[in-house]
Symmetry: C2
Amino acid sequence: MNSHDPTITDPNLYRVIFENERVRVLEYRDEPGDHTHAHRHPDSVMVTLSAFRRRVASGGRNVDVELKAGEVRWVGAQEHTGENVGDTASHSIFIELKEPAPTAAPTADVPLGPSVP
Amino acid sequence: MNSHDPTITDPNLYRVIFENERVRVLEYRDEPGDHTHAHRHPDSVMVTLSAFRRRVASGGRNVDVELKAGEVRWVGAQEHTGENVGDTASHSIFIELKEPAPTAAPTADVPLGPSVP
């Protein structure tokens, strides 16, 4: 845990709902217009529980992401900010992997936001 | 992958929707009365996308599990069969961890089915 932990940067949006030795699971809920401070995700799997329209930004780059409820995406370790640019509240789950990656990808190679499936 | 892989024992119910070096993600869908053959889960996180009423059995023990949509549960590595004992179709996601557990729990200590949150 560090100062870029999303439960510290945005405790009103990110909440720990499960944790053990191997994973930490976050629930994320927001409203249209809500945006997060810069925060870091370790390698994670995201599952959307609602439709989701989001602008993810990092280091001058940004990407718009549009997903339906019930979709699953890999989120490679990265630091970013996010903004709900849709017109509905969003609800999603992040399963964070706590072990170090077996082979670390150079950060520049990790797609910003969720990877294409 | 082995003969107790659920995508081999029950390919009509379990489907791989994502896989990389660290995780494999399965989508599970069934109808009331459907049941699986004996299969093995590695340490996994389950996310329900629908209500879920299920009888999980292994080695003469069984446990009934009832969850709402949008719930998250740890499933410690285990072998079992499952049966949809509800009256609705069910839909869920399993995020399987591919790396070996840092400290293996004795199988007898792993709760059958999803752990209590």
